[in-house]
Structures are given as C-alpha cells and as structure tokens.
C-alpha cells in the first residue's frame, strides 16, 4: 500500500470523517454563535449586527430568572450526584461480593431507561394524588397533600436520578485507580479506617469528585425532557426556553443566543475542569 508511512496518510484516513465532523458539528455550532449576533426576522437572518437577542434575554427578568434557575439546578444536581454516588462507588470498588458485576449493571440501568421511564415513575410518586402523598396522608403525617410537582425541586430530583450513573462511573474510575498500598501504609502508621479514609482516600479521589460534579452540572443545564415533564411554566430552564423559541415561537435569534449561552458555559466548565485537575482515573503509586 503506497504511502503507509507517508506523512499525508493519516489525513487520507481520517480526512473524510474529520470533514464530516467539521461540516455537521463545528459548522452548526459556529452558525449558532453568529446567528445570535445578528438581527433576526423570524427565520431570516439579516445582515445587521445586533445584540438585541442578548439584550432581550438578559433584559427581561423572566429570562434572567430562567437562566439563574438553570444554573442553581445544575449546581444542586452536581452536588447531590456527588454525595449519592460516592458511597456507591466506594462500595462497588471495595466489595468482594460475587454480585459485584450485577450491582454495577443495576446502578447503570437508569442510563438505558429513557427519560420517560424515569420521570414517569417520579411523577407517579410525587404528584398530588401520588404514592408519596398517599403514604404521608395515610400515616397522618400531613393533613393536606404536598404539592411537589411541578417544581424546581422535582426537576432536581429527576435529574439527580438520571445522572447518578455518570457520577458512579466517574468516581469508580478514580477510586479503582488508587494504589491499595497507600491505604495499607496509612494503617500501618497508626491510622484507623476512618482516619485513613479522611487522610488518604478522600483527598486522592477529589479529582474524580470534581470531574463528577462538573459532568453532572453540564449535563443538567442542557437537559430538556426532565424539566419539561417535571417542571411547569413557572420553572423554565435554558433548554426548555430554547425549544420554545426555536420551535414554537420560531425566533431563531433569541434561540441561538440562548444556545450560545449554553455553549459558552459548557466550554467554560471544560476549561475549569482541566485547570482544576478534574480527572476520571486515579493517581498511581508515588
């Protein structure tokens, strides 16, 4: 095969797929960035540079609130995902049970379940006539049913549920990469199991914790279905607004501006992650 060691060969190989990605991934996103900066007339982009789309979304309190809401939901989801997945990841990497493989598969099940399977269950649990209200009323804990849906809280619960597997996988990757001798060394020097965890295991798994948080955060802020199903008109997020403006209102300028906000934040999170050393695999022995 002529030119296997040719300098151009890799480009010959990877050229077509790379071109595909440039065309159908980079270009559309670039288009979005530019579309947001032009004055738009429904679907038609004019040639006038204008920040009116941005002025619009940042000007109206309604939309500012939606953006702010999106981010605090993201942060809450990130934190809760980390809090819930750490113990599971720790358990799964340390357990010697023969059901380990099955347990790992089970915690990943929500990944295969479509958003509807997940949120449907939450809806059944959380709505006014739902199972949780039924139980609480029956036990006499409350007199009136709690209104848990629609709300930002319900969105947080739904998203935590959906993104838990990502957290578990990320943190498992880091914990599994830790040198077991490090913990034994700490114990041999007089640290109890609890002390060893605090002094050695936890600090060394922080890169994974950070990676899990950032991952959950970035997935949460771009989630569409869960906020749509478990939220309502009072709990708009960036994603639901984007849908509204792109499809229902057909105001592509504003839609693109909102999309650009998402892009910028996502890139920021990526950069932040690299700076802070968020990693998905653990440090080895020293």
């Amino acid at each position: 095969m002529a030119g296997m060691s040719d300098r151009r060969f890799p480009w010959l190989l990877a050229g077509p797929p790379a071109l595909f990605l440039l065309l159908f991934f980079v270009l559309p996103n670039a288009l979005l960035l530019t579309a947001s900066a032009f004055k738009s007339d429904a679907q038609v982009l004019t040639n006038e540079l204008s920040g009116e789309s941005y002025a619009f979304i940042f000007g109206k309190a309604l939309y500012r609130a939606a953006i702010y809401r999106t981010f605090w939901i993201g942060a809450a989801v990130g934190a809760l995902v980390v809090l819930l997945s750490y113990p599971v990841a720790f358990f799964l990497t340390r357990t010697r049970s023969r059901w380990k493989g099955w347990l790992i598969a089970l915690i990943l099940a929500p990944l295969l379940a479509s958003v509807v399977v997940r949120t449907y269950g939450w809806w059944v649990l959380l709505n006014r006539e739902g199972a949780i209200n039924g139980a609480l009323l029956g036990l006499g804990v409350i007199d009136e049913p709690l209104v848990m849906l629609p709300s930002s809280g319900a969105i947080v619960v739904g998203l935590v549920h959906a993104l838990l597997p990502f957290g578990v996988l990320t943190i498992m990757g880091v914990l599994a990469g830790l040198n077991p001798n490090l913990e034994r060394a700490a114990m041999s020097l007089g640290a109890s199991s609890a002390r060893t965890f605090v002094e050695v295991t936890l600090p060394l798994s922080m890169s994974g914790v950070l990676a899990a948080f950032l991952l959950a955060f970035s997935l949460a802020i771009s989630a569409y279905a869960t906020p749509t199903i478990l939220g309502g008109p009072a709990t708009e997020t960036l994603a639901t607004l984007i849908y509204k403006f792109m499809v229902s209102l057909v105001d592509w300028g504003v839609g693109s501006a909102l999309g650009t906000v998402l892009i910028v934040v996502s890139l920021l999170l990526l950069w932040l992650g690299t700076r802070l050393g968020a990693r998905r695999a653990g440090p080895g022995a020293a």
Binding site: P10, A14, P28, N29, A109, P110, V117, W123, G255
Partner: protein, 265 residues
C-alpha cells in the same frame, strides 16, 4: 471493617432511589384502571397490547433502524479516526483527537438547533426526518466509537503490525491478521454504546424529526402533552428492553464492561 454496615445501608438506599421509579413505571403499565397510580389497581395487559400496536410499534422500529444506521456508520467513520490518532504521529493530531471527542463536550441540544438552522439556511429542508436524523445521530455517536476503538488500539503493542511486516506480511495483511481481530471488542462496544445513545436520544432528535419520521422518544414526549397514561408507561418500558437485550447479547461475546470507565456520557 467498621462502618461497613452503615455504608451498606446508605448504598441500599441509593439503589432504592435509583431503581424505585423505574420499577414503579413498570408496575403502572400493568394497571387495570386507566390511572397512573402506585400501588396499582388490578392487573391488566391492555396497555401492553396497545403499546405493541402499530401506532407505537412504527416509531419503535423507526428508532431501531435509525440507531442501527447510526451505530454502523459511527464505527465505520470512527475507525479511521481512532486509527490515525492512535497509531501515527503527525501535526494536527491533537486537534483531530479533540475534534472527534468534541460532540461529547457540547450539549447535543445545541448541535441540534445549530443543524436545524443550517439545513434551513442551505435550503435542505427536505432532509428533515430520517436523513437529517442519521446525520445528527452520527455526530453524537461518533465519539463513542472513536473512544472505544481507540482504547482497543492502544492495548495492542505498537509494533505488533511492524513485527508482522518484518515477517513478510503486507501492510494490509498485517492489519487484517493482527490489528483487526484485536480491536473487535472495541468495535462492538463502540457500536453498542452508539446504538444506546441514538436510541435514547431526544435532545437532537427534537429538532431534526418530522411528523411520521420521528423516533420513539420524540413521539412519547409529544404525547406527554396530554398527560400521563399507562400506555405510555408500557411503551417506555418497551424502549428500555431493547437496549438491555442488545447490550446483554453483545456482552456475551465481548467484554463491553471493560470500556465503561472510559465512557463519558
């Protein structure tokens, strides 16, 4: 280990949290009454009968077709990308690596609206539906194939092909006899993850589908406007069974699980 009992209790609670709603949805689908209640009233298979009817089976098969196309193309396109990045040193290699994993870094939603605008601007509205969906899904599925195939390639010693060539094999034969068999698991894992990604996607599908040519996820979402109904529960559980069966089947032959720690998303 002291405290292990407490840990187990915590872990059990998290598992309950994770699996509970899914189980609930499944039980609701067997509800006799037309209500989404838990605990369910009575037992009935009527919602399942509806779920397997033409109105839902159509989109379901559409999704299967779409996901199959996307995963096959993802592997075909991802292989050369992964190979170039893993095997060769060349200027621009880092850029290529970043590009191929790019779609994982940005939300699919945003790529979706970008593609929506681009196709309109280019006057290619006719592509909406299956063609546009295939394109969009290929974009978001490609990184999975690149990643798993890349991992497979890196696990083969770099000079294995060179060793074969020194023994007289042509570059193509060396590739076929040495590299190809060893990346099989990476290829199948990549195809599986790509399939699941495409099958469960709605973020990009929302903007590229058209009535009559939309995947099951989008169809379900649009029906949710009318509220929850046990039929939807049955359909939703059905959509869960397809990926599970697929992964289960592939896992038999290839250790898909090995690639999980590398998988993001």
């Amino acid at each position: 280990m002291s405290g292990w009992g407490g840990l187990r209790a915590m872990v059990a609670a998290v598992y309950l949290f994770a699996l509970g709603p899914i189980v609930i949805t499944a039980t609701v689908s067997f509800n006799a009454a037309n209500q989404s209640r838990f605990p369910p009233l009575g037992f009935s298979l009527r919602w399942w009968a509806e779920a397997l009817g033409p109105r839902w089976l159509g989109p379901l098969l559409f999704s299967v077709e779409l996901a199959t196309a996307a995963s096959v193309l993802a592997v075909l396109a991802g292989f050369p990308l992964a190979y170039a990045v893993a095997r060769r040193q060349f200027p621009g290699r880092d850029f290529l690596a970043a590009l191929s994993l790019g779609p994982l870094a940005l939300p699919a939603l945003v790529t979706g609206i970008g593609l929506l605008q681009m196709l309109h601007l280019a006057g290619l509205e006719a592509l909406f539906g299956l063609p546009a969906l295939v394109l969009g899904h290929l974009v978001i599925c490609l990184p999975f194939a690149v990643r798993t195939i890349g991992v497979s390639l890196l696990s083969i010693p770099g000079n294995a092909e060179q060793a074969a060539m020194s023994l007289g094999a042509s570059p193509f034969t060396a590739f076929r006899e040495v590299t190809l068999p060893l990346v099989k698991s990476g290829v199948f894992a990549g195809a599986s993850f790509a399939f699941v990604q495409s099958f469960t996607d709605y973020s990009i599908s929302l903007f590229l589908a058209r009535p009559g040519s939309s995947p099951i996820t989008v169809t379900i979402l649009s029906f949710l406007e009318y509220g929850f109904a046990p039929t939807l529960a049955a359909v939703a559980v059905l959509t869960m069974i397809v990926p599970i069966v697929l992964i289960g089947a592939v896992q038999r032959f290839f250790r898909v699980g090995d690639f999980l720690y590398e998988t993001r998303h």
